[in-house]
Subunit: 419 residues, 3 copies
């Protein structure tokens, strides 16, 4: 792995820096203003939220939080360029607070897809996926918001559904028959589940900022904040109720609490800044919780066994289905109620076209990307080494600090001292 | 547990959504402005701060952070309604940034009480406690701020003392003689103490936002920020000094560092936006640290053994005593110095009445709530199953990831492979 | 330790409170405005960022996050006084949002030095180091910004290089020949490395706020934000590439990912608000990553073995070398391009003088401080007890929660039950 990864990373970074030198300028008119805190909230979601959410696997914490950081750090640079090209003026991309929010957004698609293939791909593969996915994302986003003129302020469609179906297509192409039976590393420990809750909570808490950050006016921003806040709250209560209902002997499942509680943030995204009423937001959130729990419980096993779609983190249930629900909610709301932004009237037809094109482009783009990732020099790992940090990281002995005595005891008694 | 919890949760959520549909509207005049970051800080305190602070128990991390999330997610919805009813206009509750800050605040009372009964109650009991406590809190807050016209910007009385004495009354009513001797699960591990420090730090850091979020003007807000900042700093140094002084062989105690360092934030709450001078804030903080350390060290064992008050997290020392200290500081400051807000003169008599009514209502409300929680269908657990996640959660094996060899060794040598 | 620490801490705190009573006033004209979120970001960096970054040692997590909190809580009070004396008006220090940002900044120097001596010093020693270092820092900062009129908005020189070389001088004076061979506690575990990533990420994420918080105008602030954002991103990709390149069998090293990814934030500090172009920021970040990785890999072992400088956290590679790089970048940029602030023209000569004086004062101040720390009543620990929380903390048994069965099994089979 040494040379393939290092060369890919350094070449991509040098190209990116050169492109920045040619094309990128400050937006000299910009100030941090009241928007900067929204950026920082989104920034925490991308690196801490996504990063720790994926640390639930018992031996894959370093990769989850580390490769998440790598993908996001590279993706935000590439995203600046790709999104900037569509908005460049005089051949220059002008960056300010809004640009870096959008750059963070664009990385979210790759991080969602990373969740689908988590544990089964190499860091070099992830860099290639990032550059391809961010590029395709920027094109689809331009199509949805500029050409179709659909609304998607919280990006239920353009980020969540896109990232999920892109990742599912990648993981389908990279299908590993050897993982048909559950891999021994594909489970959590008590502490890895605790670490994952750090990710869950920071995603949950800052989601109102995510859904409102790029709203066109403060009056829309406040609606997006309030709607997301109540949608998530309703979704969380419903998720706990259903987790107990479907769980063994009525017990809560950590995977559901870590993930399905967030579905309300995804699903309310498209309509977040519309006048759907807090009541409407809570209905969307509640339905999202139901869909997500049922998806994890019934659909994921079927996808894996029947359709050969091995979705490590269940991104289909957290981002895919709730993303589609958000898109459908957008169609319904624009059909019922006239919603405008700066003389653009949102129509249900265009919303439907946006949803369809997003999923279509994501599936095709993901499948092609999966094909590229099969290139041998990118260093696919063997089935046996999946979900294991020690393939890519120097991993310390997992030892209990305060057990010197018992360790010594073992040495005396002839037991294995690595215990 | 399956049906009782799920039914309670779903029924409460459906009722809440219906009430939102009838009563709640956006506050269309509101914008995020400079207040929104204060909301996000408070939001982190409620979910990450309180949630992780309680993860110190070795086998109760899932419940601490998970049920904390459940209580807060439901409580903020119910708090919106209860607080809103006192401020409704034309039969409508208008929600904006200030409302969601207040909604978060109202959940804090239930989370403090949750700390008192931690490990000894079921999730269904906690939902019932939340709905009752948030309702009573909203009434007492209306009494204190609108009828008595007392000042309590950082809610030393209305949130901290209220939540603590409410919780202590609940735990007294739910007294378990079987836990007279320390339960084997009622202790921490090295890592659970580390997780708890995440909660401590986020509470500590964002407390200036908590105490200043609803200040009436920016000039008062800045005083609340500065006072809280220095009160916490002084409290922290004093706590370390006293922890060493009372500890075995001069050693620091994690429970004190996790909790007593925060007492300065509680105690300065009532006076936070008054002109008490940073010097005054530091004196309050220092005294709060002393009271809290002594409370943990000497009072909590007595409360448990003599008064049958089993206070799992020691909320009496973190929220109860420092809350009273804050109330008393408010009496003294308003007696010494004329302090006004919008033509209301704060008087020491009214401050004392506010403190007394708060504690009285909390004790009575908590006792009644404790009685309700004894209803059998709410699923009280046995003494033996206390402080144990596995009663309510699917819990993974706690295994050390990188010990495959030693596990294999054990299998060969005939030892129990679950080790 | 009991009395020496407690007495030192209480005496220092009482003196500090008295000095606050005499000298400190509110800045009544201040409001939180749009600056307050920057303060909170910096605040999180100081307590969560630095605190958790240092938790990587397997038995030193309590001390890392706890003593970090103690140093910062005391240091911010002392820093308020020391920085305030240079800006006092009419014998009074006026505190507002900018003051508490600067107070937090001044603690960063002591926290960086703490990293150099981590595991080898007592809490009382750290309080003495803090008071001395913050005092000397405030003088040097005054020299650099007011007398030399150099620019250093993100404090590459005055905080990072200063804190690093101060700490290296302290650790040199406190040299322990007994630690020449690696101490058995001086290593990480899987979970301690995960905790450290919490620190890394919060530092990484909020660094744009650190570098822009005290910029003179919003237009400079936005440049500082954008430059730091892209510098860190480039540094991170380069760090991953080099970590793989120098690592055993191409594997990533956690110590590099935890630390060297941050070097881009340090190095871009001096020039952050200058018009260096995002391209220039990325070049600085990339070079910082290279220097930092090479420093950790090649230089730190040499410093320890040849120069008797035992740098526990490698602050030389994270703060020292990148800080110098930042200073040099400042010299180059001011030589190439005319940069002004409020009629002050920054000159390369003054930038060089600022860098030289900072390192010189840090080395001399650190050496003197190291001498003071050798005073016997401050309670230096033995070599054997280094890197061990249990010397200063009551430490719980590190036990696996869900192994009751296996524990019982062991009891039956006669094995040590403390296992």
């Amino acid at each position: 792995m040494r040379f393939s990864f290092s060369i890919v990373a350094l070449v991509l970074e040098v190209i990116t820096i050169v492109l920045f030198g040619i094309f990128v300028e400050y937006d000299y008119r910009d100030t941090p203003g009241t928007l900067y805190p929204f950026f920082q909230d989104v920034h925490v979601m991308i690196f801490v939220g996504f990063g720790f959410l994926m640390t639930f696997l018992k031996k894959y914490g370093f990769s989850s939080v580390g490769i998440n950081m790598l993908i996001a750090a590279f993706g935000l640079q590439w995203g600046t360029l790709m999104q900037g090209f569509w908005h460049s003026k005089g051949g220059k991309i002008h960056v300010g607070v809004k640009s870096i929010i959008n750059a963070d957004f664009s990385t979210a698609t790759a991080l969602i897809s990373f969740g689908a293939v988590l544990g089964k791909t190499s860091p070099a593969q992830m860099l290639i996926m990032t550059i391809l996915e961010v590029t395709i994302f920027a094109c689809n986003e331009h199509l949805v918001t500029e050409i179709l003129q659909a609304t998607d302020v919280g990006a239920s469609m353009t980020i969540h559904a896109f990232g999920a179906y892109f990742g599912l297509a990648v993981t389908l192409v990279l299908y590993r028959p050897g993982l048909k039976n559950k891999h021994e590393n594909e489970e959590s420990t008590y502490d890895s589940d605790m670490f994952a809750m750090i990710g869950t909570l920071f995603l949950w808490l800052f989601w109102p900022s995510f859904n409102s950050a790029i709203a066109s006016a403060p009056s829309n921003q406040i609606k997006a904040i309030v709607n997301t806040y109540y949608s998530l709250a309703a979704c969380t209560v419903v998720t706990f109720a259903l987790s107990s209902l479907v769980g063994q002997r009525g017990k809560f499942s950590m995977v559901l609490i870590q993930n399905a509680t967030l579905a309300g943030g995804v699903a309310v995204g498209t309509c977040a800044d519309l006048s759907i009423h807090p009541f409407g937001a809570m209905c969307i959130g509640g339905i999202a919780g139901i869909i997500s729990v049922l998806g994890f419980h019934f659909l994921t096993p079927i996808l894996a066994s029947k359709l050969n779609i091995q979705d490590t983190c269940g991104v289909h249930n957290l981002h895919g289905l709730p993303g589609i629900l958000g898109g459908i909610a957008g169609i319904i709301v624009t059909a019922i109620k006239e919603e405008k932004r700066q003389d653009v009237l949102f129509t249900p037809g265009m919303q439907a076209a946006a949803l369809g094109s997003t999923i279509g482009i994501a599936l095709v783009g993901g499948a092609l990307t999966g094909g590229v990732l099969k290139l041998p020099f990118l260093g696919q790992t063997s089935d046996q080494n999946c979900f294991d940090d020690s393939v890519y990281w120097e991993v310390p002995e997992k030892e209990n600090p305060h057990e010197i005595h018992s360790n010594k005891y073992e040495e005396h008694s002839g037991l294995d001292a690595t215990m």
